[in-house]
């Protein structure tokens, strides 16, 4: 009886999630009357604005991930190694983007870095892009920090650091050759969440007036019928591909050095 209800709950849960997706995917194929076709996808993929905004967002995601890794990995490592008592405070700071709306953050940026400020980042395209990247990094900080911190928890950071130091390694070597490779799966999982956030983000890109994928999706959704559904399916496919990559990398990653039985 228990087994039956467990299966029923599983099937209900799967249907709850899968049916809307199936409906959306089916709808995206109905652009041509009476037959299934990939017209909506062809139209979306052929749209120069799709290519432009998607490649812009991917590029921004890459820079955001690089910046995030450079910021978060050394910080989380240092907090674990030297400032364990500061961990709750650092965690609190990294969680702030979850409670401070993106619109508040971006208005704060605009006020601080407008053309009449001491650092007029919004005055140039590159400056605005940098500002947007900082904004994306802030939004993804809770996920990136958590992922890296969890990865660091699986290794004995202090002893590995001391072992490397006794062998003559400096901080850069320790971080680059030992810590980063050992938390690579965690960094990648944080990186893919960052990618998903950047690809779908609307508020910051729209208010900073940058040609990102989020505002394009919103614009398309407001004016078309079938293309937004095709775009959503494409976005899902990208997300699932990313998750598949995480799984793949996790299998290839180094395992903690627990001894096998003598």
């Amino acid at each position: 009886m228990m087994r039956l209800s467990a299966w029923a709950a599983l099937i209900f849960g799967m249907l709850y999630f899968i049916l809307p997706l199936v409906g959306m995917a089916e709808f995206s194929l109905k652009m041509r009357r009476g037959v299934y076709s990939l017209d909506a996808y062809a139209k979306v993929l052929a749209d120069p604005r799709f290519q432009e905004t998607f490649s812009y967002s991917v590029m921004m995601a890459v820079f955001t991930i690089l910046f995030g890794v450079l910021l978060v990995v050394p910080t989380a490592y240092w907090v674990r190694l030297k400032l364990p008592r500061a961990r709750p405070y650092v965690e609190f700071i990294t969680l702030l983007p979850l409670v401070i709306p993106a619109i508040v953050v971006v208005f704060g940026y605009i006020r601080l870095y407008n053309t009449s400020s001491w650092l007029p980042l919004t005055g140039t395209v590159t400056g605005t892009n940098i500002l947007l990247m900082f904004g994306y990094a802030t939004l993804s900080l809770p996920y990136m920090y958590r992922a890296v911190d969890t990865g660091l928890r699986t290794i004995d950071v202090t002893t590995l650091t001391e072992a490397a130091q006794s062998l003559g390694a400096g901080w850069m070597t320790i971080l680059g050759r030992l810590i980063l490779p050992n938390v690579l799966v965690a960094v990648l999982s944080g990186a893919f969440v960052t990618l998903a956030i950047v690809i779908g983000e609307f508020t910051m890109a729209a208010l900073l007036n940058r040609p990102a994928f989020g505002p394009y999706m919103q614009l398309l959704g407001a004016n078309r019928a079938y293309e937004p559904a095709a775009l959503a399916v494409i976005a899902f496919a990208i997300t699932w591909a990313c998750m598949g990559l995480i799984q793949l990398v996790a299998r290839l990653a180094p395992k903690p050095a627990l001894p096998v039985k003598d």
Binding site: E162, S166, P259, V260
Partner: protein
């Protein structure tokens, strides 16, 4: 002329806040010597080791190697090899990668690294495991690799921080012999931290016994065991039975224990008639059979513990408990609890403790 120490630890102390964990320690280690730091948990032995490694800075005092002051050098600049209790192998590197890490960091060429790694793998008798990752090795194999990694860059001093504690008893015994063999083969100056007295006594040229941040005694294993200079050393190293005694004749080395008088004792300097002191006996000093010059006491058997090759017998003389170790003899009937027997010992084997 005495040989100048290779590793010299001069008057170092270490405090963490208000707590002083190492007090004014002076240690001189000769080149190629194997010195063990022995003591209970929290006695400060690992803190001294970590100060030598550079992971802690002494509050006072200095450390030098071969005449060069290293007190304030970074750990990465000291050229000291270290083996940790938890192995600390790098999980993302293979065995060969781990062993060659120190050489790669030092900028040694690829060919030279490969040659040294092969040499180290042969030394630890694991040449077939070069391409394995740490998680594919047993604990004993991991610790061998950790040892090879520490000595591959030819360090000036090797520090071993309880390297055998996490291993099974059998592996521990074989690995300690292996470590000692490698140390003697390479002639590397080594400090070994342990709380296991058997390890310290069996491996070391000299043993330093510590208690509550202070060095109690430094000496050869035989000196530490046979002539402990303090009550703590006597009690911590080996098993000891203690008897309260009163000095009755200093010139004859005579003291009274209960109703028995024991002569020929090595009384401490300055002992006077009427002084009370504590006599201590090792379990192996007590015997069933009497020899010339032996003292005899009558004791009641409290319990008998069969340990295989050895039988440990708990005895009582009045209120005082003693232990007697005797080899297992299958041709003799085993002692029985409750029996009263005569036990014998040579007065020279009695340790007279004053503190």
């Amino acid at each position: 002329m005495t040989e100048a120490p290779y590793l010299s630890i001069d008057g170092i102390s270490k405090s963490f806040g208000a707590m002083q964990v190492v007090r004014d320690a002076d240690i001189a280690v000769k080149r190629g010597e194997f010195v063990s730091f022995l003591g209970p948990s929290g006695c400060g032995k690992t803190t001294i080791l970590r100060m030598v490694a550079g992971f802690e800075t002494p509050s006072t005092g200095s450390i030098s190697i071969d005449g060069r002051d290293i007190t304030y050098l970074k750990p990465s600049q000291r050229k000291i090899g270290m083996v940790f209790q938890s192995y600390a192998l790098f999980p993302n590197l293979t065995v060969a990668g781990n062993i060659g890490f120190g050489l790669r960091v030092a900028g040694v060429g690829r060919a030279a690294i490969d040659e040294r790694v092969a040499e180290m793998l042969a030394l630890i008798k694991l040449p077939q495991l070069a391409d394995r990752f740490p998680w594919q090795l047993s604990g004993g194999q991991q610790q061998r690799v950790a040892l090879a990694r520490a000595i591959a860059p030819r360090p000036t001093v090797l520090l071993l921080d309880e390297p055998l504690s996490a291993l099974d008893a059998k592996i521990r015994v074989s690995l300690r012999e292996e470590i000692r063999g490698i140390q003697q083969e390479l002639g590397i100056t080594t400090i070994f931290v342990t709380h296991d007295q058997e390890e310290a006594l069996s491996m070391s040229d000299r043993v330093m016994v510590m208690n509550q941040g202070r060095i109690e005694q430094i000496g050869t294993p035989a000196e530490i065991y046979n002539h402990p200079s303090t009550t703590f050393v006597a009690a911590f190293v080996g098993t000891l039975s203690q008897l309260d005694a009163t000095v009755t004749d200093v010139s004859r080395g005579e003291a009274r224990v209960g109703s028995t008088t024991i002569a020929g004792l090595g009384l401490p300097q300055g002992a006077k008639t009427g002084d009370t002191l504590r006599l201590a006996l090792r379990p192996e000093s007590l015997r069933y059979d009497r020899r010339d010059g032996d003292q005899t006491l009558e004791a009641r058997i409290l319990s008998v513990h069969f340990l295989g090759a050895v039988i440990r017998i708990k005895l009582a003389i009045g209120d005082v408990a003693l232990s007697l170790d005797t080899f297992n003899d299958p041709t003799r009937p085993p002692p029985v609890a409750g029996e009263t027997i005569q036990i014998h010992f040579a007065p020279q084997t009695v340790l007279a403790l004053t503190d």
